[in-house]
Amino acid sequence: MHPILNDISTNLQAGKAKIVRELVQQALDSGVPVKEILDEGLLSGMNIVGKKFKNNEVFVPEVLVAARAMNQGVQVLKPHLVDANVKPIGKVCIGTVQGDLHDIGKNLVKMMMEGKGIEVVDLGTDVQPATFVDTAREQGCRIICLSALLTTTMGMMTEVVQAAREAGIRDQVKIMVGGAPVTDAFCQQIGADAYTPDAASAAEKAVEFLTGEPA
């Protein structure tokens, strides 16, 4: 492995966005293959952050700054990804359900998923059931991820499952749910496909759904 990839990973984990951007450009200039920069520099660094987050070794602010560093690096790589035929492992859409404005959990899941090489369509907060379904259908998302913090808005997750059924796409998408009041029992009760208790587990589950293999 080219030593610069380790530097990219290390600086990403420390949240040093500017340095990551410079290192990614240097790696490109040195002829390191785009896919290697992405996989062994950026995604590898973010994976380490995800594992540490799951083990309570790093915390929400550290994940946020690391994800920002990763995004800065990806921006440098973006023009080269198509030429190198590097594709995401799949596409998902994510949002906080209608009536709920909380976004920290949703943002963390998005970042962890992007760190696994998944393309994420972020629908924001207060998202109507039809928007999830329409986005999945129109943009080819294979997973719909639903977040809720409020006990009263959890119920909107049921509406999304129902809307997916009514739109005839339920067998084409997996529906993942999460958020402080959400439980595995609730997930099963509403007919969703997976509940995960934290952002890192959500990203791992999404990889499993998209690739058929454990993350």
């Binding site: 946020l64 700054v65 006990t151 402080a180």
Partner: protein, 338 residues
């Protein structure tokens, strides 16, 4: 009516059969047939709601509405009301260091804060058999509502001075707000600092501890208790910092195993928690909450006289009263057998 709250706390610790102190207020809407929004805008309704809860339950104290949108609204943020749900703050109002500098500290009374103080004044007139506790947001949690939750986390690294600027202003207001509650007759306050529970221990030490400590120092007296609440999942890692805030009691959420915390809290401080508000009080059954309560007491109470069973956070407005009643019955059942 003034109370010797220091003696009240000591008596609570000495008592063999203890009462429970859940964060229970908003479910009064079911007893009154009013909406959460009506309640959160009307001091008389709030006081009456607290009275009804006190009449129905043997809780150690009456606790006011934990409406954590009130303080940010006083600073100029917009609160959003949803049917059956506690109000939340819509959008951040501080997005740059310049906006942090320009942020004005409101007077107590701005927005709905005057109504909440008045509610405590009226509640103290209606409830005489137990202390009345007010509720306020903690400084980092307020700053997070003003700056945006994700943004403040990143700003702890990028713009720490701006975060401290907002925290200082938030604490200026909150310290006055707590003193207004004390002046209205409250016997104590619960400071809810949930957002700090997402920080690393180091960041919590820098961005939460000193500000909570300042609030606590400004308000505590023999007649006024300060209770710290944090329902984050990192509280075990930041417990030393939390204890340095020098409050009278510490209240933890159901994201942590409280049995592992009780022994770490000094014996002269109350330690409280943490039956799940969502899965037990709201979504559970009377049988399930009885089992959870007895289990929690069995795990935490023996050997820890300063442990007081509670909910893990504020109990959602539409939690079935049969579950709430079952919680209190289970507490009584446990202590009858002790």
């Amino acid at each position: 009516m003034k109370r010797d709250m220091k003696a009240w706390k000591e008596d609570l610790i000495k008592a063999k059969a203890k009462c429970a102190l859940p964060i229970l207020s908003f479910p009064c809407v079911q007893l009154m047939g009013v909406s959460v929004e009506q309640l959160s805008r009307d001091p008389a309704l709030q006081a009456r709601g607290m009275q009804l809860v006190a009449e129905r339950t043997p809780a150690c104290a009456a606790v006011s509405m934990m409406d954590l949108s009130v303080e940010a609204e006083a600073f100029g943020a917009t609160a959003r009301f949803m049917p059956g749900e506690v109000p939340t703050v819509k959008d951040p109002i501080v997005q740059t260091p310049e906006e942090a500098d320009a942020l004005k500290v409101p007077q107590v009374g701005a927005g709905r804060t005057g109504k909440y103080v008045e509610a405590i004044r009226q509640a103290c007139g209606l409830i005489n058999d137990r202390p009345v506790l007010a509720g306020v947001i903690g400084p980092f949690s307020l700053a997070g509502r003003l700056m945006g939750v994700s943004d403040i986390m990143i700003s702890c690294y990028d713009e720490p001075e701006a975060v401290h600027t907002v925290l200082k202003k938030a604490t200026d207001f909150l310290a006055d707000y707590v003193l207004a509650y004390r002046g209205a007759g409250a016997h104590g306050v619960v400071i809810a600092e949930p957002l700090a529970g997402l920080l690393s221990p180091g960041l919590a030490e820098e961005f939460s501890e000193p500000y909570v400590k300042r609030m606590s120092g400004a308000a505590r007296s023999d007649e006024f208790l300060v209770i710290y609440h944090n329902c984050g999942n990192n509280t075990p890692l930041m417990l030393d910092s939390i204890l340095r805030t020098n409050c009278d009691g510490y209240h933890f959420g159901d994201a942590v195993a409280i049995a592992g915390l009780v022994g770490r809290v000094p014996e002269d401080k109350l330690v409280m928690g943490n039956i799940s508000p969502s899965s037990q009080f709201l979504g559970g059954t009377p049988e399930g909450i009885r089992e959870a309560t007895l289990g929690q007491l069995g795990a935490c109470s023996p050997g820890h006289p300063n442990y007081i069973i509670s909910s893990g956070c504020d109990i959602p407005p539409m939690s079935p009263w049969e579950n709430i009643d079952a919680f209190f019955a289970a507490v009584q059942e446990y202590y009858t057998g002790v």
